[in-house]
């Protein structure tokens, strides 16, 4: 496992993201409401550059004919076919099995680091 420093916190203010390259991977580092998350810039469906998609909210579980908007700015929607992913975990919203790879993020002294190659890396682990 290795921690890759990728940005200073002030480079990625709340509501923004930065794309970084680590060992040939393109990874989006998102600041969601003050917390940092790293998600692979590759959609597990047909391989679009996921981080070109909009960050948005979505409709929450609800009763029939009820629309409850929520999770504002926590969802990344693929720019191609619109699949929705939870930025915090990389999980798609329609199946636990379908997910974009996500990486643990470490924030220390104003420095953001991404953890890569953790032994038996658990995809979708939330930032520590």
């Amino acid at each position: 496992m290795a921690v890759y420093p990728v940005a200073r916190t002030e480079e990625i203010p709340e509501g923004t993201f930065k794309i970084v390259q680590i060992e040939g991977r393109s990874i989006g580092v998102y600041n969601v409401k003050g917390e940092y998350y790293a998600i692979n810039n590759y959609c597990p469906h047909q391989g679009a550059e996921l981080c070109k998609g909009p960050v948005c909210g979505t409709t929450l579980e609800s009763q029939v004919y009820e629309f409850i908007y929520g999770r504002d700015r926590e969802i990344l929607r693929c720019p191609w076919h619109g699949w929705e992913f939870d930025i915090k975990t990389g999980k798609s919203l329609f199946s636990d099995k379908v997910r974009a790879r996500s990486y643990p993020v470490i924030e220390e002294d104003g420095q953001i680091g991404i953890v890569i190659g953790q032994p038996k890396q658990r995809e979708g682990t939330e930032g520590c």
Binding site: Q46, G47, K52, R77, P79, W80
Partner: protein, 357 residues
């Protein structure tokens, strides 16, 4: 930056959408009195009566020029056509494709004339990789025929495009003069979805209007099933033995069970269509094509292989991406399991033959 593309075979993409830069693009090509009218009030259209939560375009296809998605031919070449090894991008109008849903037949015919002149003047000259489809308005077959006579001889026009939405099934005798003109000019008719249930069209499903885009888009094959059964049983392919039809963007895997049902019924009910000399499915095999996108994606991909074995997929399918629309299929990602030879036919050779490229 483009992601690394695996080595790809040449592609003839049978569904690429070219968009206008703005409402004014058609004006120079529009006849009066519509030109003055459109200059003052814009070009109205009869679109689908549904809004999609993801919109209709890819979110990563905006030209750097700031022009609308799909409206910048140079960027289309750079972003899609060249990197994906697309030999020909067959252009299918974006926003006027549903013009047959507009109530005024003369207005609709004028828009089609303008569009056809526009695509010939402003898109085809940009690259030899651009060829495409002329549009006709189905409200008035006589004007549609005149337009085919006028435009068909252009070497970059390879088919006549109409929308799936309709006031009646496409086998109806009302439309036959259009098919006769298509045959005369060796142009296939390409049916593209997009405005089912809009304007003067019938509802998009046999039971009426579904509530939203999710349901509407899923049910599009219904319309195609009805058009296809009608085209075959009304004897269109007996009357016009060289006429070909492309069912574009309407799904693929519904075809085999429909044809089983049709053939079975024909064995008992043949006397209703005594002009058919072969099994209905044989007409479909010989006269009809389907484009691949959006390809069905069963969880078990072997099931798609099986569906392909149930009809003449390798000769009837034509690759399409639908670039730059939201349900784009990446040619390097889909149908990867197909053997090379079949894939080559579907990705380019079938289209080359059909459109005489």
């Amino acid at each position: 930056m483009l992601k690394d593309k695996q080595e790809t075979m040449p592609v003839i993409d049978c569904d690429v959408h070219n968009q206008f830069r703005g409402g004014g693009d058609l004006l120079p090509y529009l006849d009066e009195p519509w030109r003055s009218q459109a200059a003052r009030f814009g070009v109205p259209s009869a679109g689908a009566p549904y809004a999609s939560p993801v919109g209709n375009k890819r979110k990563d296809a905006d030209p750097p020029s700031g022009l609308p998605v799909g409206s910048d031919p140079a960027f289309m070449l750079e972003h899609y056509v060249n990197p994906f090894n697309v030999e020909y991008a067959l252009l299918c109008s974006d926003s006027i494709i549903g013009i047959s849903g507009f109530a005024d037949p003369d207005y609709a015919a004028a828009i089609c004339r303008a569009y056809n002149d526009y695509v010939i003047a402003e898109w085809f000259p940009v690259s030899s990789k651009f060829k495409g489809y002329m549009c006709v308005a189905m409200q008035d077959p006589a004007q549609a025929v005149r337009e085919i006579e006028r435009i068909a001889p252009h070497p970059d026009i390879v088919a006549v495009c109409v929308i799936g939405g309709s006031r009646m099934p496409y086998g109806d005798r009302y439309f036959h003069p259009i098919y006769e003109a298509c045959q005369r000019h060796q142009l296939p008719l390409l049916i593209h979805p997009g405005a089912e249930g809009g304007g003067i069209f019938n509802p998009p499903t046999a039971v009426g209007y579904v509530s939203n885009y999710l349901q509407w888009h899923t049910c599009l094959p219904q319309t195609y099933m009805a058009h296809l059964v009608s085209l075959v049983c009304e004897g269109v392919f007996e009357k016009y033995p060289e006429f070909k039809v492309v069912l574009c963007e309407g799904g693929v895997t519904w075809l085999p069970p429909l044809l089983w049902r049709l053939d079975k019924n024909f064995k008992a009910l043949r006397s209703s269509a005594p002009w058919l000399k072969r099994m209905p499915s044989e007409y479909v095999r010989d006269h009809c094509f389907m484009t691949t996108q959006p390809i069905e994606e069963p969880n078990n991909l072997k099931h798609l292989d099986m569906m392909f074995e149930m009809f003449d997929a390798e000769n009837m399918l034509l690759f399409s991406s639908d670039y730059p629309h939201w349900d784009f299929d990446d040619p390097t990602q889909i149908l990867r399991r197909l053997p090379e030879e079949k894939k080559r036919k579907i990705f380019s050779e079938n289209a080359r033959k059909l459109f005489r490229l």
